[in-house]
Symmetry: C2
Subunit: 442 residues, 2 copies
């Protein structure tokens, strides 16, 4: 049994590559918010790196060692984060950490898909947690969604785009009309594919993740050896074109399906209807569609890889473990995400302070000079017009003028609109809608 | 402080309308799986309904009363599920349940958005949980995602389609070219809109939900009174058309954005780029896009209302509470979703047992009768062709024949493909891809 932790939660980090570095960065940058959410700090107390000399100058603020076994044997460590990858020594390290009563957070999909049963059994016996949100679909909290968010459901099936490299290549083949080799080369150039891309394009990586998802969804042991695996290496550009002609897009899907007689577990390129939401998941993004008997279909979408998206999942697991170690049930399943003492730092802003782009529909008398009057008022408030739609009005007495405005302060637009509304040529209330790019340029 | 529960978790249910009925149904139907996930049973021990006589013949298997206060005062009840709706008596009942040390699960967005601060403070003081996953976006585990799954992030902003009625109406206005009144009438006919649709189409319901999401995301008190609220009542069909001309779709969005000087909180119809994933969320579906500093953008999609989707969220909250009440940390944050003793009920099936639709690309000599040979083999294995693409080959010696096949057993197709591959006219390995409708007809 693990001992309760009362001070900071002390993390031992195995590996300081891309994901390890991202984890250090995120834990530091958001230390205050995380502590307020959990009710205690989460600190990296010791890190094992292959070559500690390389870290000189980089102030990790913790013990650094080249011996990862020193970390799992350190009695001061509560949780071990394994982000070194590979089967050995990761497997031995995790088993030794478990045996020492430490919780484990890992991003190691290959290890868990191939050796998870032994690891989970050891953890169960020791009463410790092995958390692996980061092993599947980067920062998308899909493990949590299936394990907890959909816990009331009998999961019928799930289907996921869970290898960003393959999805990027398939997107390039469709949208940029590239053939497979040049799309792969482009993915390698951008760092989306490894120099040895086999694990990605031949489906093995997706199969590792699918094995873990199926285990969570159906309560079955991990059984990577029996997962059917086909990659995208044999696809030709013409298949992408034919599929489009037929109303489909090709995606590398991992599919797990519950049937009366067993479970289907398969990774293969798949034609899916082009209007389906999954068909719109492009480039290096991941998405998982889950069908539960009560909830119906739900979908989870986001970046499937990268230092900080993966670190996001690792920190979420650390927060879960920290809450597990906390006695107060209101911290374990908090009603709010924060401790109440910080609950008033940010005031709500008035609408006049909001900045947005805008759509205006203005009805005015059908006569020359109307647009000039409107444009002049806007210009006097430093608001610029991005686009104009003016439909042929013919002999109508009243014409709609539709404008798209660049971003401005809502308060400035309010003032301009009051003047536009008062123009004698304007015949009806002006309709104002807001335009948001939602992360794209609007 | 709540007392630990060792036997079944005993639920008191307040309200037996659509959501209450769905909750009873889901808890019963999936009782076995839920118990295996949690390590104990979750049972409804008592239910309060307005008119118990109406429930005669319906075997609830528990105490039934017309007095909801009898439920919150029943010392045998561990958790109260409030699905009666409205402000009073729901507010008094929840506060009394909390005062009695009971955990509370509620779907009551209006109550929490308007009176949540008092309720959360009382719960914090008593050390009990108030869980409300069902209050926002039906069965989509969005509260859990923000509160736990993204706990390592500083949330920058979120934007959601969180009122299915409005989204259904907007979809009808665009896709079916309806005007607002007839789209609303259609929504009412299908049960997506109430007889009094004001709360939905004027934005109040979305604002209730947005208030809760912002509170979770930013750690601020609920402050519904200061949320900016505009609905879709003033939209004209022409705005939908103009927006499309400009490359946008109109969605009723709830937007919460963190700025250095405070938080924007606003519900209004919004033009968003038509290629954005949120623009593809149609009909009564909900979706929430969340931008975190580590994870980037993630999106959560599913049914935002309905008896069983909402029940899915309520049961998930009950499972969380039940895990909170459990001493064994491996059940609190389980590495697998199931107890290990059931971990081998479902065998993995061989690929030959899978049923799918298929895409075939067959290269054959350019001569008459080739298609007939292929079709004959398929017919002899009872496999039927749904579509055929045969491009003009001109004088090429080798032509691709692309076929879409109806669903069949993979084993049958394997046998047919072995014969097709062996036909002397076939010049290259046949490419076989699978076709999946993913819940739509493939």
């Amino acid at each position: 049994m693990s001992r309760p932790v009362m001070g900071p939660v002390r993390v031992g980090l195995l590996g300081m590559g891309t994901v390890g570095g991202g984890t250090v960065r995120v834990l530091r940058r958001n230390a205050g918010e995380i502590a307020r959410r959990v009710g205690r700090e989460i600190v990296i107390a010791q890190a094992a790196v292959r070559n500690p000399a390389r870290l000189q100058g980089l102030d990790l603020g913790c013990l650094v060692t080249s011996d990862p076994f020193a970390v799992v044997r350190n009695p001061e460590i509560d949780v071990v984060v394994e982000v070194m990858g590979g089967i050995e020594p990761a497997r031995s390290l995790i088993l030794e950490a478990i045996a020492a009563g430490k919780h484990v957070v890992t991003a190691n999909k290959a290890l868990l898909a191939e050796h998870g049963n032994v690891i989970f059994a050891a953890a169960q016996e020791q009463g410790v947690v092995v958390a692996f949100e980061a092993a599947v679909a980067g920062g998308i909290p899909i493990i949590k969604a299936i394990r907890e968010g959909l816990a009331g459901n009998r999961i019928q099936w799930l289907a996921g785009i869970i290898n960003g490299t393959s999805n990027y290549i398939l997107t390039q083949m469709r949208a940029e009309a590239k053939d497979f080799p040049s799309a792969l080369a482009e993915a390698q150039r951008l760092g989306y594919a490894e120099a040895d891309p086999g694990l990605d394009i031949d489906g093995g990586d997706a199969a590792h993740k699918l094995t873990l998802l199926a285990s969570i969804a159906f309560g079955i042991p991990v059984d990577f050896a029996h997962c059917h695996v086909e990659g995208i290496r044999n696809l030709d550009r013409v298949d992408v074109v034919y599929a489009e002609d037929l109303g489909y897009r090709i995606k590398l899907l991992g599919i797990a399906k519950r049937r009366a007689d067993g479970v289907e577990l398969r990774v293969h390129p798949t034609l899916i209807p082009e209007r389906h939401l999954l068909a719109s998941v492009e480039g290096p993004f991941n998405a998982v569609l889950v069908d539960g008997d009560a909830v119906g279909q739900t979908l989870y979408y986001g970046r499937g890889a990268g230092a900080e998206p993966t670190a996001s999942a690792i920190v979420a697991d650390l927060v879960d473990v920290a809450r597990t170690l906390t006695a107060d049930p209101s911290n374990r399943v908090p009603h709010l995400a924060f401790q109440p003492d910080c609950m008033s730092a940010l005031p709500l802003l008035p609408m006049a302070a909001v900045e947005s782009a805008y759509y205006l529909r203005i009805h005015a008398h059908n006569r020359p000079g109307v647009l000039a009057q409107v444009a002049t008022v806007l210009a006097e408030h430093d608001i610029s017009i991005e686009a104009l739609v003016q439909k042929e009005a013919g002999a109508a007495a009243d014409v709609p003028i539709v404008l798209l405005l660049h971003r401005c302060r809502e308060g400035d637009l309010d003032a301009a609109l009051a003047r536009i509304q008062a123009l004698p040529v304007v015949t009806r209330p002006v309709l104002r809608l807001r335009v948001e790019g939602l992360g794209e340029s609007a």
